[in-house]
Amino acid sequence: MKILVPVKRVIDYNVKPRVKADGTGVDLANVKMSMNPFDEIAVEEAIRIKEAGKAEEIVAVSIGVAKAADTLRTALAMGADRAILIEVAPDAEVEPLAVAKLLKAIVEAEQPGLVILGKQAIDDDSNQTGQMLAALLGRPQGTFASKVEVDADHVSVTREVDGGLETVKLSLPAIVTTDLRLNEPRYASLPNIMKAKKKPLDVKSPADYGVDVAPRLKTLKVTEPPVRSAGIKVADVDALVAKLKELGVA
């Protein structure tokens, strides 16, 4: 079985994003970028499935600017076998629906048994792409996975749901999206980072797949969230109790 792992280059999760003064978006100039944390978990899971002898090849794919090749190299250094970059213009914003359509075209060409995506990207916080891909392919989806067990013709996915956990059984090929608890992603070692530079990385364009990536949503403006007014510090527990009484909760 082949596994396809889509990865996204996003602002590093430790960076506090700054809204541009003109309200057109978030300032990404000179900001540290990294692989979306959920996608690292997806790459790790694919590697573990391969290490367990249940997959032969891992293909990482990213849709984004030329720099997204760095993100793919990270996936290759972790253990992916080859990569595909669908390059878009520097100012292009490719929405989940367009990404899902591009991934559908790649799935049709590559025929993976499993596609593992992150549950959401930490920049647009959409949580849509995996579900949309599953819909377009008419395949089952195992979203928010905290455990994945691959068998001959199906995959069992334990999902993190409100209130607890739920297990579903999906026929293969299937789409799985990762939650935080699925695994602890490995670090790429220096020798593997060097080796990753020699692994194949194909560069394509959306036109190669005949997909229109024009956005359906127009961002009218991006603003800072309301700022909370400065609070006070109380000296001791008695003062805190008094405050709680004022608030009517004690």
């Binding site: 506090k16 949309m132 069992s156 739920e166 939650d179 969230p225 109790v241």
Partner: protein
């Protein structure tokens, strides 16, 4: 505009998340509901009484028993033939099903809306709530998930909707439900609680978390939450996690105990009316958003607080 709202239920009653979603839907136009499940006729009757509700579509079939997206999406797509917008609460069920529906309708979903600014214009948080985007859809039909804490609850009574059965679309045969482990809790539900006591990494272990946080929560009739660190360390189950990737809450009072206040945690609770932080590190980022802060060792301060309430 005719809207179709997904009713989240447990076969007995309508979940609060739905009531918030109805309020958002009412801003767009006529509100119709979809109650899907197995043996859920009573829920449809209750749903019809929600204020402002018109028709309640009842799809009662074994295929809908566990809200599998593969079986629900075709049903919703069919109903969208005569609705203009589909709204679901941004719960794990809503987030699982709605994008599947959107893709089948060939429209972009608008996730986790905070407000309705116009027929096709909405605000939503991006970058872990560090920015708010105003977006306008150019799609013919809308698929939206709604952040419950951003909209008031619709009244559960006063409505006079009519229940209408809809034909099931059957089992897609792609997936099946194996089982679930739902944590039983007598405390209020996290996302609708008025008061939340949350604990972080500083709580040390499962026993210390239980012996420190739970008595305070019980004294206040509060729900219990946690930071990712506390969940990862196994102090509490996953579904206690408050944050960007866990639950988004906005209670009247949020008490953060031993939580430093990382961006990802703040994303889930910074819309709380009053935030109280107890932390021994006076430079912890949590104090930048806290209305009331107490710099103290939680192991002495929390039991003392519990005792004095």
């Amino acid at each position: 505009m005719k809207t179709l709202v997904w009713v989240e239920h447990d076969n007995a009653s309508v979940k609060d998340a739905t009531l918030h979603t109805v309020t958002a839907a009412a801003k767009l136009g006529e509100v119709h509901l979809l109650v899907a499940g197995s043996g859920c006729a009573a829920v449809a009757e209750a749903a019809a009484k929600i204020e402002g509700v018109g028709k309640v579509h009842l799809a009662d079939d074994a295929a809908y028993a566990h809200a599998l997206a593969e079986n629900l999406a075709p049903l919703i797509v069919e109903l969208m033939g005569h609705h203009d917008a589909f709204l679901a609460p941004a719960t794990t069920i809503g987030k699982n099903v709605a994008p599947r529906v959107a893709a089948l309708l060939d429209v972009m979903q608008i996730s986790d809306i905070l407000s309705v600014e116009g027929d096709k214009t909405f605000t939503r948080p991006i970058y872990a709530g560090n920015a708010i985007a105003t977006v306008e859809s150019s799609d013919a039909k809308l698929v939206i998930t709604v952040r419950g804490t951003a909209f008031a609850k619709a009244a559960e009574t006063g409505g006079s909707g009519t229940v209408e059965a809809v034909a099931a679309t059957g089992d897609a045969g792609l997936s099946s439900f194996v089982g679930s482990e739902i944590a039983a809790s007598e405390r209020p539900e996290l996302t609708s609680a008025k008061v939340i006591v949350s604990g972080g990494r500083a709580l040390k272990d499962e026993e210390t978390f239980a012996s420190t946080i739970l008595p305070l929560a019980d004294k206040l009739g509060a729900a219990v939450g946690a930071s990712r660190a506390a969940v990862d360390a196994g102090y509490v189950p996953n579904d206690y996690q408050v944050g960007q990737t866990g639950k988004i809450v906005a209670p009247d009072v949020y008490i953060a105990v031993g939580i430093s206040g990382a961006i990802q945690h703040l994303a889930g609770m910074k819309d709380s009316k009053t935030i109280i932080a107890i932390n021994k590190d006076e430079d912890a980022p949590i104090f930048q958003v806290a209305d009331i802060g107490l710099v103290a060792d939680l192991f002495t301060a929390v039991p003392e607080l519990t005792g004095k309430l």
